[in-house]
Subunit: 208 residues, 2 copies
Amino acid sequence: MPELLPRTANGRATRRRILDSATELIAERGVAAVALDDIRERSRTSKSQLYLYFPGRRELLQAVARNTACLVLGAQDGHVQGGFGSVARFEAWCDDIVAGQTALDGRGGCPLGGLVAQLAEHDDEARAVLAQAFDAWERPLAAGFRTMLERDELRPSVDPDELATAVMASLQGGLLLTQVRRDPRQIRIALDGALAQIAAARKSTAPA
Amino acid sequence: MPELLPRTANGRATRRRILDSATELIAERGVAAVALDDIRERSRTSKSQLYLYFPGRRELLQAVARNTACLVLGAQDGHVQGGFGSVARFEAWCDDIVAGQTALDGRGGCPLGGLVAQLAEHDDEARAVLAQAFDAWERPLAAGFRTMLERDELRPSVDPDELATAVMASLQGGLLLTQVRRDPRQIRIALDGALAQIAAARKSTAPA
DNA sequence: TCCTACATGGACCTTCTGGTCCAAGTCGAC
DNA sequence: GTCGACTTGGACCAGAAGGTCCATGTAGGA
């Protein structure tokens, strides 16, 4: 049931153009406001190409979810490379996110988080794709906390996975409030809250 | 341009049936998956009644946003009555939310938060309605923090409005993760994080 | 070079959807 | 009871959307 993979260089380029166009359009306008014809137009392809590489709209949307996940996680690569083994690293990560939202004037929200409300209740396979994306997103955070734990910088009762989930919740909620209020300060406040949670999990060396 | 208000008891009942049916359906399936005919069917009305009481789909959706806000905020009334002037109150509030999500098996997410991704980028008026709803939702939380501040239970540097926003972010993000992972433990973890933020804002009497 | 499988363009079909319209029914004030 | 305004039912319409099909073009291996 997976979409057909193109066998020529041309075909691969076409498939990519379709997927990227669809991903862009959906990030801009939302799932409901994007018709296949819009995707066809932006990707400069024809109906038959859409249906050659994707069985139907549903599968295209699932592929878009995967693609969006790649893009969002890819944007974090710089931070993931260095690892999250210190509070300073987390602060730098937060600063980047805030800067991104400020540049967008609080528009758009999280492309990945936004797909949850639009797909999760409607298509369980898409839901699973998004769940995996969030797992992959939290993993480097949790690894950072585990490192800090091993270095004895966090209280031993702290669960690194749960702390990562709590940080992700603050991030996603902060992006949602940023989007609905069109106010990038919201994500700053939310992430400051997340940093406060991390600080609270630290061994009481300095209350910083 | 606001929707017409019915002038007879029958008319009022019809309008209510339409609005409640639409609100239910959209909470269940999402905006895109609900057609006017679905609403017409569930509310046992006719097309002409839909268009008598609402100028069109867009205005109906805005009314649904308002109605959803009323329902979500109404569900909190019990907690708002008593006020949020202590940590124990916040814990009780969190417990109720977790219980609700557990009962739903993590399905559905937050009806209000879900509308953000579906409407905010598409209809600025609906976005404003939702923003107001979040303001109203945070207000009693902030009032609780202000009370605690006056009682000298929080550090004076704490901004009650920002703390309320941070808690709301944890709540919304936690609900999103609950929905995408179909796992009510996610909201528990997120709200424990929020409680940790509140604890961190307290005057260091007891680290409890 | 030729042949086959892949790629492309776009007409076409069916269904669904928001929206319009009007005729008939009901309610309440006088 | 009567009259006018409000309410209701549902047929109808135009356009959009997802999906199908086939004829044509192209590329790469034998």
